[in-house]
Amino acid sequence: MEYVLHILMLIVIYSVLAYSLDFIVGHGGLVSLAQAGFFGIGAYAAALLSLKFGLSLPTVFLASICLTALMSLFVSVPSFYLQDDYFVVVTFCFQMIVFSIFNNWLEVTRGALGIPGIPLPVLFGWEISSKSEFIVLGLLILAFSALCIWGLTRGAFGRILHGLREDEVYTESLGWNVRAVKIIAFAVSAVLAGLAGSLYGFYVAYIDPTYFTVMESILILSIVIVGGAGSFAGPVIGASVLVLMPEALRFIGFTPSLAGNMRELVYGLLLVLILLFRPQGIAGKYDFTQSKGAR
């Protein structure tokens, strides 16, 4: 039972991460490889603030929101000047820098040793200790994330984001401040990834930099593509598929070490198949193989 709950918790966390990335990738057309960086910032913020300062869960979440929103400027501002592949390289660099900071700022992050003993979170007197309680908290955060994305993509802001995805020059010619739109979109995306990170930090009670590598960013992007970019159900479907798949490999009889390598192989294969035969993903609308503004 504990195992099933753990898998469920991972699906919840990756669903939040996928919603956060899908907001800019699926709706805004801004492909980013920095998501694991924001995920890590949220996790380290939770670990350090609760361990060193004994802050409560709402305060930690608030601090994580502020920090990740601020850090998102390192990605959103370059997006004013760079498009497509060049911008992806910038997000990759940001990811590498954040990872290096986690790995080398020994006085704060303890580097590769990681931060153990992250205390159990307490929400208004409710100590969250069991896996099922963490799932309840996770589902609350997932519902909040899904609602945010739903609200922001259904109305005028969503239309502007779609405009940005299809034709930035045209959208700006209509009078929309595309830079402001990008700042808001990246901030929302980073904040949600940071919340997932804080939740993850409290859940595993130990974090180290290996959880927040560029491979993790690629995994989150894979979830978005497989689930279906720009769709409401896509992130949950993608997270379910890509979290459950390596577990299925385990039951096939591969050893844990082989299963790990097979996971990468199967992810790659799945992505190629999806892009070949269903480029919009399982539940998606946005076809990654079509160029911007394709008529």
Partner: protein, 260 residues
Amino acid sequence: MMSGSGDPAGLDATTLNCHELGLSFGGHKVLNGFSVTFAGAGITAVVGPNGAGKTTLFNVITGFIQPDSGECFLGDKQLTGRRPHSIARLGIGRTFQDVRFIARLSVIDNLLLASNAVSGPTGIGLRAFLSEKRIREEHSDRCAEVLETIGLTQKAGDTASTLSFGQQKLLSIGCCLMNPRKYYLLDEPFAGVHPELVVTITETLKKMSKSSEVIFIEHDFEIIEKIAERVVAIHQGHLIVDGPPDQVFDTDSVLEAFVG
């Protein structure tokens, strides 16, 4: 109508004044001390051979390209140095030579995307976060009016990519129309359009010019003579003639620029 260059001081708020614009691409002078003034009413055609600098002039006015020298003013407000969204919000709408709209949105959603552009002082005001229902309610009358003007009422719910080329041109003009502008800069609105739709576009431009100035780039002299009240002829980045169509088309320098 006015022509020539001048100091923006003393010009009224609707005057669009381009003064001594200069721009080079890789050593080739596209605009070469170009000056012109528009008064904010009527229909003006911009003509010139390919590469004369017509589209570049539109790009400079709307902020998509910054000139190497010279300035543009709308009334006493300097346009040069401003970002395109800010210029659009000052009241200068435009269309592009390659028809632009959001292909994956419906016709009505394209209009709504355009109509929200005037909300909020920063270009992305709180109104962008209003409920979809309220936005649709607020803009339903204007959308219906514009759809009727451009003749796409029956196509309102269709995905924009399914429209014919001429209808796509009309949609891009309709998006411009969603907001009250002082100037509409239309880059070859008639190019490649079926004769039936030429009539619709002509009527649309006439309606637009009642409260604003329509400035359009065109190569077809017949169309220009039918609807334009003023013609601005450009050649090699210079203003060569500025006046009524019959007068401009009889000018030797214009004939020379076009025929050689």
